[in-house]
Symmetry: C2
Subunit: 406 residues, 2 copies
Amino acid sequence: MARIVMKFGGTSVADVEKIKNVARRVKTEVDAGNQVAVVVSAMSGKTNELVGWAQEVSPMYDAREYDVIVSSGEQVTVGLLAMALQSMDVAARSWLGWQIPLKTDGAHAKARIKEIDTTELDKRLNGGEVVCVAGFQGIAPDNRITTLGRGGSDTSAVALAAALKADRCDIYTDVEGVYTTDPRIVPKARKIDKITYEEMLELASLGAKVLQTRSVEMAMNHRVRVQVRSTFSEAEGTLVVDEDEIVEQEVVSGIAYSRDEAKITLVKVADKPGIAASIFSPLADANINVDMIVQNVSEDGKSTDMTFTVPRGEFQRALQVIEKNKAHIAYQELLSTSDVTKVSIIGVGMRSHVGVARKMFETLAEKGINIQVISTSEIKVSVLIAEEYTELAVRALHTAYGLDAD
Amino acid sequence: MARIVMKFGGTSVADVEKIKNVARRVKTEVDAGNQVAVVVSAMSGKTNELVGWAQEVSPMYDAREYDVIVSSGEQVTVGLLAMALQSMDVAARSWLGWQIPLKTDGAHAKARIKEIDTTELDKRLNGGEVVCVAGFQGIAPDNRITTLGRGGSDTSAVALAAALKADRCDIYTDVEGVYTTDPRIVPKARKIDKITYEEMLELASLGAKVLQTRSVEMAMNHRVRVQVRSTFSEAEGTLVVDEDEIVEQEVVSGIAYSRDEAKITLVKVADKPGIAASIFSPLADANINVDMIVQNVSEDGKSTDMTFTVPRGEFQRALQVIEKNKAHIAYQELLSTSDVTKVSIIGVGMRSHVGVARKMFETLAEKGINIQVISTSEIKVSVLIAEEYTELAVRALHTAYGLDAD
């Protein structure tokens, strides 16, 4: 007997038939003698519809009211799931964030979980009842509903698994697991059997939408065994685990790419202490997330070029901030483009292997792809390239690192 | 300055534009210096959709889960309304049933309000904030969401008006008020300026869908001044008040009809004590609501015919109950039809006037309409007629009692 948390995303609960299917999968685990807590998202498309209404009413909406509105989606699916389980003679009831209570801070629309009271849930689980929990939602100190930010149901599930000391947390979605890269552009992409938290974190933060970044962080911090698998198949999924659980580690586990990039270059800024602060402090103040930064070696010892990337959604705002601070920063020219893609290779194995980055650069050079910016971390190398080369680059790297399926 | 409760039904909050319109009407009252609590229903169609899903999952659903699901509709509109008010610089926040708290009994899906804690709402109203309350919902003693039954938002509004000691409760809907009869079949129907609680109660219970019956009872018990008016026009509506507020009382205030009737006749049952109980006790046990009952005078002193009506939705079930008890009741023959309509004249004035019922019978006779069953109360006379005569009968009575508009 194990205690497990099962989480089903929006496509898995998109309509009543699909919710019944979810109930059948839950029943299978119950029949196998397991204690089960289920976390559900809203029906796919529902949260977007609710957010759309909120924006239509007022683009500058009150986040507390936003949370009242958007949390309703999970309220519907959790009730329907509990009903579906009952109709299959599985004891079950629904739990909303405020009923558990799942306590968060007061940062509405992007709240962080503070504490999950498991007294009642523990009792129910031990009594053989399936605990159906509305994902994405909690309650703030002032007794108002909070939500955890988009994709927050993953975080709900992992946090619940940690609080309930669950043996594992199964994240059911519409793909069969985590792939070596996007199968839509690389047909030879392979499903990964086991991946480390660190790698998953990089993949998630690079936009591989299988798991919300924060949920991976939380799983890593609490050592929750997470499995990503498909609601619509019986196939084994991808296990996200500690590095020491993985016997044979690939040097590079996956290739990620993100089109959500825009590049800004400040030509001929003074090469002196404080110049980086004069550029990036105003951007930080404007809550703009700067990603890759490269500062060229100064040629004349007096001036240099500074290049960095921002998310596309913040591109125009970033340019405005820079232009407003032109006098202070004192650059000669401002160059910018959103015609770029960030391509990354990820693998904990690269820590102990040399020449991993070089292979990336050589592979891209062979295809005639120019690298505009490079950034590296311990387990990742990212390059910025012209957007039109995206597919070519990802396919070439996938082959070069031996990731292609047979 | 007055303290008012405004309630808006589903058609008044059917989309974002309509919710903004509601916010403008609320702002008008606020600008006039009034303290305002607003109660909203779900967007029209939404509750039906949610109920449909619940039934699709399981026809024998758990009413506690049903309440979790269907209460979400009002959660959405109350959040959107609070946002819309804020965007017009009106201080406002949403309140869900459990947040107020609006305490009910534990009869899920048809809960009754036990107590409304007005501490926080009073404070907010006195501070000039508009209090936006999700209609139709409350919280049970076990901390689970309850709903008040279909149309329950009217009851929420009236109960809130009573608890907050509001000066009036305005029920905004998609018609301009209460009419002397259904304007769809009588073009000369007139809007009634003032109507008594008692009359309104009869109209509501006869299916005039302007106000939920229970809300009228509650308004009567707590002497809440209710006004029914249109969200989409500035016209005065209908005031539901105490009898002594109405100076010139019509003898008959309105003509109602209900097609939701089915007639059952038991031919030749024994004319002896206990026979009525033998028929109606099993029906009551089956939770079937018997309406009109008529027992003919016994011709031979030994047997009689018993006729009664039930709602059409319970017709087949009622027949089954009777047939199952055939041996015990000992009737000779069972006759039944759903081809009937109940037509009623209503007016508190008939208490002090003679000949009111006679005029009804004569009017119908003149048109060649046969009366099958008659039942009367202090302020109402109802007759059962063949369904095909419905429009003819209602129009003739409307004219006979001088209700036609000029």
